[in-house]
């Protein structure tokens, strides 16, 4: 038996197909219920994934799903301990509505998600586990797993396993990382792409996942498509032949693979040396000035997802990581002109200020 998937109706019972059992219990209403039992031994396809430095024990009953997430496969065996689990049942009898908007609700340690109208996901922050039932079509949808579900899982469960999702872009240059933060609409993604075209490796353009490794902050990206507003086609000719589409949050945007579209270098992790807060405003000329640390801390704290008090340990861990991140140099960057001009100004500053070993150069 693949996974226990039964349909109950009432009073008499019969086996409908192998793996599907239906029974009737004698009421007039014809109520059907699909029942899934997620016992580990029934999810025979197992693998260890490594996502933003976290070990994820992944189990499913369908090999095609495993292929969809194979880019995260770790060399570590499934016997090793894990930071979180992803248990996914593929129900071949389930159909999906690809156009349906996803839905999310949260209560206590749980986050309930419904994708494609019928596919249920339960994310449990205490158990550090995602359990889901999906259709075969979704199992084979690489884009869904790699650009939607895995980032959401990490964003939701991250604080429970020592990962702080930070609302900022991240770039690396000569081995040193730079976080680029700013309120929505400030132009983080646009500047990140312009910096990548100036030779920085792009780690992430919107959400960066920070964790402490041997006492040092590591910043990870998930190599999801870069999201750029339609007006960015003015600055990047590579977008001129593409059409923006409706993103998951309802915005009209270009969502492109940066490496393929812009021929830029990408990286999955770096050690951040500084945090740059981008401010879009009309200024006479570009400027970079030191930003008080408490302002930086408050920005990251306020852009983080609200968590209930039951998760006080996760809240405290997240605050600890934010504290470490903002113990780096924090700068406010205002620029005038095109994103390319802004990127060149910031690159000059970064190269002058930080040597390749990441030490801060003498104050200027």
């Amino acid at each position: 038996m693949v996974v226990g998937c039964h349909e109950f109706v009432s009073a008499l019972s019969f086996v409908r197909t192998a793996g599907f059992q239906a029974c009737f219990r004698g009421t007039l209403a014809v109520e059907m219920i699909r029942t899934y039992s997620v016992e580990r031994e029934e999810l025979a396809v197992k693998s260890m994934l490594e996502i933003a430095g976290c070990k994820c024990l992944f189990s499913t009953n369908d090999r095609s799903l495993f292929e969809s997430v194979s880019r995260w496969k770790s060399h570590k065996g499934v016997e090793a301990g894990c930071d979180f689990e992803l248990r996914v049942i593929v129900d071949k009898g389930l159909t999906r509505d690809a156009s349906a908007q996803p839905q999310f609700r949260g209560a206590q340690q749980f986050v309930f998600a419904v994708f494609h109208s019928k596919e249920s996901f339960l994310l449990d922050l205490f158990e550090r586990r995602v359990t889901a039932v999906v259709s075969r079509e979704t199992a084979r949808d690489h884009e869904f797993w790699n650009t939607i579900l895995i980032p959401i899982a990490l964003g939701v469960l991250g604080p429970a396993m020592g990962v702080a999702p930070l609302h900022c872009a991240c770039l690396a240059h000569n081995g040193q990382g730079m976080l680029v933060a700013g309120i929505s609409g400030a132009g983080k993604s646009t500047l990140a792409v312009a910096l990548a075209k100036e030779g920085f490796a792009l780690v992430s353009d919107d959400w960066t996942y920070a964790r402490l490794e041997q006492g040092e902050v590591s910043a990870y990206g998930l190599q999801v498509p870069v999201k750029l507003m339609p007006e960015c086609s003015r600055y990047f000719e590579e977008l001129s032949s593409l059409r923006p589409r409706i993103a998951l949050n309802g915005e009209l945007a270009f969502e492109v693979n940066a490496a393929e579209t812009f021929r830029v270098q990408v990286a999955h992790r770096c050690a951040p040396s500084c945090v740059v807060f981008l401010e879009r405003c009309n200024v006479e000329k570009s400027s970079i000035e030191a930003l008080p640390r408490d302002v930086a801390k408050r920005y990251f704290a306020q852009s983080a997802e609200l968590l209930p008090t039951e998760l006080r340990q996760a809240i405290a861990e997240r605050e600890g990581i934010i504290d470490q991140v903002t113990s780096r140099d924090c700068w406010r960057f205002r620029y005038r002109g095109t994103p390319q001009q802004g990127a060149r100004a910031l690159k000059r500053f970064f190269e002058e200020r930080y040597d390749v070993d990441g030490h801060c150069a003498a104050a200027s």
Partner: protein, 143 residues
């Protein structure tokens, strides 16, 4: 404008409705269990407790919290039960879903305010009864 003002964000919105208060409560006997029911709406509380017996007892075997949500679709979807010990997820599509944590003795979920009383009584409650009835009584939850 000071930099403090520029980078100050509003408090994040409660997108997941995690912080909806559920101050209304009632203790009932439900499938042989003493259940403390909580909700944000009296109508929801009355509907779910209509098949139960009132019980003023202080102790309870299970805490059942249901948030009534006007933004969820009203039409019940196909019922499904997903067991992933110690948690079970009972859902009716996008309009009603709840998670039972057997160790914590807590049942927590959401229901659309548009779901009819008839559907609650004839479709949802029988499934909840099965779920709760099968729950073993060991450690009572902290109230």
């Amino acid at each position: 404008m000071s930099m403090d003002t520029v980078l100050r964000l509003p408090d994040p919105p409660d997108l997941l409705r995690r912080f909806v208060e559920t101050p209304l409560q009632k203790t009932v006997q439900f499938e042989g269990k003493r259940v403390l029911m909580r909700s944000n709406r009296q109508g929801c509380l009355d509907m779910f407790s209509s098949l139960a017996v009132d019980d003023g007892g202080a102790k309870c075997d299970l805490i059942w919290t249901m948030v009534c949500d006007p933004d969820l679709p009203a039409e019940l979807g196909e019922a499904s039960l997903m067991e992933s010990a110690p948690v079970a997820l009972l859902s009716f599509g996008r309009s009603c879903f709840m998670a039972l944590h057997r160790n914590q003795k807590e049942l927590t979920g959401f229901i659309s305010s548009g779901v009819s009383e008839q559907n609650v009584l004839e479709i949802i409650i029988p499934r909840v009864k099965e779920l709760v009835g099968a729950m073993e009584l060991e450690n009572a939850p902290h109230v």
